[in-house]
């Protein structure tokens, strides 16, 4: 699994340098993903497990667009498959894809946390280039 696919801050770095105050805004947006991403995905899973299929699909749709735009590309790819599976009510596939999406988001959150803690490094790699 490539770190830069799990969380690619390239666009954020470019935007952060483009306007005064942009860096602070972007840190807030990424910080929000770090703070609430897992809970929001868990809420979508609960909705699915409680039979609220439409609510689950809408939540995944929103998370995919939001976190994908912030650079969580792997999560966005997994969430797209998940959204399709939810729409088609493919229960076994949905369970597998929720787990894959949770792993992808956890990795994105870990890398994004590191990115925030370091200021703005060029990539989201862990110290020493280690894979999480």
């Amino acid at each position: 699994m490539r770190n830069d696919a799990a969380f690619d801050p390239t666009q954020l770095i470019a935007l952060g340098a483009s306007h005064e105050g942009a860096q602070l805004i972007l840190q807030g947006l990424v910080g929000n993903m770090v703070a609430t991403g897992a809970d929001q995905l868990a809420a979508a899973r609960s909705a699915w497990e409680d039979g609220r299929r439409g609510e689950a699909a809408r939540a995944i749709h929103t998370l995919r667009g939001t976190y994908g735009t912030l650079g969580a590309e792997l999560f966005a790819a997994s969430a797209l498959e998940l959204e399709v599976a939810i729409d088609a009510a493919r229960e076994e596939r949905v369970a597998v894809l929720f787990e894959a999406s949770e792993r992808a988001l956890a990795l994105a959150v870990e890398l994004a946390s590191l990115w925030l803690a370091r200021g703005q490094p060029r990539s989201g790699c862990l110290p020493g280039g280690a894979m999480p």
Binding site: I25, L29, T62, R64, T66, T69
Partner: protein, 148 residues
């Protein structure tokens, strides 16, 4: 300078679009978090381009699109959507959308789409809808037999 209004219920998407769009060529003249607010804002500022989310609580983007085109025929509306299925695309084009920004988006794609749309507004002929960097035919030709 081309004026742009952003209508999206997701604050992260609004903030990212504003950061991407605001610059020397474009001025973000407003934001709204739902269709009703967005229409009110559009009527007040008469933007050149509206970036309009498709999936929103209450009045959805396609309904808002119809109302904007009724009131502001010269305003180009770009649909911001994570859904590029046939129904969504054809429905939006049939209702007058000028193009699409697909989520998740990248700055280059958004600016490309805006540039093409802004150029279409300045051109004498009818604007051609665009999806990302891909121009698609206007509804009066290739989509004529596919419209609902």
């Amino acid at each position: 300078m081309t004026s742009v209004l952003i209508i999206d219920d997701n604050p992260t998407i609004r903030a990212m679009l504003r950061l991407i769009i605001q610059g020397e060529e474009y001025r973000v003249v407003g934001e709204a978090s739902n269709g009703a607010q967005g229409l009110e804002r559009a009527l007040a500022v008469t933007p050149d381009i509206v970036c309009l989310d498709v999936v929103m609580p209450g009045e959805d983007g396609l309904q808002v699109l119809i109302r904007i085109k009724e009131e502001l025929a010269r305003t180009a509306v770009l649909m911001v959507t994570g859904k590029n299925d046939r129904d969504t695309v054809e429905g939006a084009i049939a209702r007058g959308a000028a193009g699409f920004i697909l989520k998740p988006f990248r700055a280059g794609t958004v600016l490309d789409t805006l540039a093409k749309t802004a150029a279409s507004l300045r051109a004498p002929r009818r604007p051609q809808p665009t999806i990302g960097t891909l121009a698609i035919p206007a509804p009066n030709d290739a989509f004529a037999d596919m419209r609902p």
